[in-house]
Symmetry: C2
Subunit: 428 residues, 2 copies
């Protein structure tokens, strides 16, 4: 009998493809209505955008009836949890089918978790997600209520935006995203985005330092420091470049949301061109590994910066927080970044060729899709069939690409590598 | 007595700065005339562009009288020879002042040449330069003569363009560069650009395989293969993207010239936006180390690609042409590339902020300046004072940056590194 063998890393690819296909058909169900109607390509685009927590839209989310919006919320949740628990579920999935030596390799799949921890992570991540979203739901509902919505509507919008913000999805039931919202809504959203974007390695690590006496890992330090530094630098730069026409709160909001969430409290198209370029850079850097966010990731960015600095100072070893980082680990970070830039260039060339948009609009759109950010200068809805397919592919690759690559790399590692003494940094 | 100590790598910086300052004052001499007059900032810009063999112009080169054009030609020649013989001259300069251990370190300055070879290289490079330029001068003069110029004019234009092409400078005495030239001019120019862009390591190595029995180095193979591959790929892509509106010869020409020379045989502004983006990518990659060209260099690009591919295949060692490449050598390549991208981003942000140009025009201009290419979508002449200073800084940094960095890195290497068994690749 023919036996089809699934590589562990294909598991992720297939799972997400199935999620998207299922989502596409759900959106085409007869009881799902959209004011403008919904073609198959638009349903595919919307499902991909939701499952890959991107937030780019070709049709207004507000145009969907309850069921359409509900399915979008469901897809965001499933997509986000799916990535966050990838390691755990992958391990659980494989457990029964592997011989010991292979299991030993797979146990290393996350570079920092072992097979016994896998189930624990799964549980903690799910609990963490729902606790955060519940708190966010309460705060956002209150915020929307203050904005004059009826209690029932405020609760509904609160739930939708809590899920969307924590999952860093960026979908909004409002046509103009969060422009004009009050400070409670903005600040709650910012918190949800940041806590959703830390990644489950960090969440698990921090959780374990509280319950047992586990130490704070280097990975956690890198993520927290880099996230903090990027948010502050982004806020100040955006505020400065916009020369005071944007409030410091909105600059703060935009700095946080640009790296992967995709909400906006100001009109992106109206920003200064230099601010747009800065946002492209922030979108490329992105969020942290094992999170709902995309981009080249904070850890890879941090490693690239530190390694550049060390090399230029003539150092032979790369030391991060008093730990030697294996050179091969650094090369992996660069390989991931190179791969990302390669896809960015190819996708930009394709969209420039098939689309009819300016260079800024095109690069912004591709970066946003590949980084699963969801911000747009307004060309998403104007995309032709090729353009929609290119952006759909970008969202999919941007979402599962890095995790797949890293999983693939770990499975290919020779067992001899297991004795490496240096501390490893998680990249994808 | 106060003794000012010059680091070897500062030598390069200061030498070029002095060349530029001298050039600026030469262009302001009373017997140098320009039809439009010439301000100090424009003289500085022109001198920087000539010494750094970039070719960007704020005033028409045709507007200069003989002396102006002569000084430009002189500056291109001095700037090009200056970089090409950097290693040699640096070694000669330092020889008398160093104790033995330091001399031993400096002897490694080029990663592949020793101190005994330094003088030999200097001689060979100078002879090579003048032989190539003389042959080019004859062929180009013949070409211009066929185009209907009087013999004396044809010879003058032949000389100017031979120097400009071999030095990859891109200056032309014609306002529309080489648009409308005949095939002899185009093909000769292409040959001069390619042979000028190989870099003196390659020239010296190939020369030595003929006179003695020296082997072809890995560095030489990488440069030749990568140069060849990039030219072919660029030609086909440009031809394809322009959908047959550009001849295959012009596509070939543009593919060669874009990576660093900066001549054009077609109107760059009239190209498809996707072709412009492709040209930005080619300009970023650039020419080869130790050559008159700029960019991140063919070797760094090759190493990045091969290392990405190896890492993604799960390899622990990076093998190039059956040689192990030290991981630290690869990290140096990435450090150089990161540095380049860092400057590219900063300069683009600055020019977007101070200029009032589109994103494409701005990025194209900055890439062209930093890669010392000299192509422009037409904004160079419209730059304000800040814009001119930014682009001047880009040309200077793009020209001396990589070589300076690599020199600095080599001087900082600990002697223990001298025992490394792997073959090294020259980067900057
Ligand atoms: K998003
Ligand atoms: K040039």
């Amino acid at each position: 009998m023919f036996k089809f063998k699934i590589n562990p890393w294909m598991y992720l690819f297939i799972t997400f493809a199935l999620f998207i296909i299922a989502g596409t058909f759900l959106l085409k169900m007869p009881f799902v209505k959209h004011t403008e109607g919904l073609s198959y390509i638009d349903a595919l685009f919307t499902a991909t955008s939701a499952v890959c927590v991107t937030g780019l839209i070709v049709v207004d989310t507000s145009g969907f009836n309850f069921w359409g919006q509900f399915f979008i919320m469901l897809m965001m949740q499933v997509g986000a949890i799916g990535i966050m628990t990838l390691t755990s579920s992958l391990l659980l999935f494989l457990r029964g089918e592997l011989d010991f030596s292979r299991k030993f390799m797979v146990a290393k799949i996350s570079d920092s978790l072992n097979i016994q921890e896998a189930e624990k992570v799964l549980v903690i991540v799910v609990i963490y997600t729902f606790v955060m979203e519940f708190v966010g739901f309460l705060a956002l509902s209150y915020g929307f209520f203050l904005d004059g919505f009826a209690l029932k509507d405020a609760a509904y919008y609160g739930l939708f935006h809590a899920v969307s913000a924590f999952c860093n999805a960026g979908f909004s039931t409002f046509d103009s995203s969060l422009i004009g919202s009050n400070s409670i809504v903005k600040v709650t959203t910012m918190f949800l985005i940041v806590f959703g974007g830390l990644g489950f390695y960090v969440i698990y690590n921090i959780f374990m330092t509280f319950v047992s006496n586990e130490r704070i890992k280097v990975h956690t330090k890198i993520v927290v420091y880099t996230t903090f530094a990027l948010i502050i630098a982004g806020t100040l730069l955006i505020f400065m470049l916009e020369k005071g026409t944007m409030s410091i709160l909105d600059s703060f909001f935009q700095s946080i949301t640009t790296r992967t969430a995709g909400f906006n409290t100001v009109e992106i198209g109206g920003l200064h061109i230099v601010t747009k370029f800065l946002m492209i850079v922030l979108m490329i850097i992105g969020a942290s590994p094992g999170s709902t966010g995309g981009g080249i990731k904070t850890t890879a960015f941090y490693i690239a910066v530190v390694s550049m600095y060390s090399i230029l100072r003539g150092n032979k070893r790369i030391v991060i927080f008093n730990r030697n980082i294996a050179l091969i680990n650094i090369l992996k970070a660069y390989a991931l970044i190179s791969m990302y830039i390669f896809f960015l260039v190819i996708a930009t060339l394709l969209l420039l060729y098939f689309g009819d948009f300016t260079f800024m609009d095109t690069l912004f759109e591709v970066t946003s899709a590949l980084g699963t950010v969801g911000l747009s200068l307004g060309i998403t809805a104007k995309l032709g069939i090729f353009g929609k397919l290119i952006i759909t592919a970008c969202m999919f690759l941007g979402r599962i690409g890095p995790a797949t690559l890293i999983t693939m790399l770990l499975l290919k590692e020779k067992t001899s590598k297991l004795s490496y003494p240096e501390e490893k940094i998680i990249l994808g």
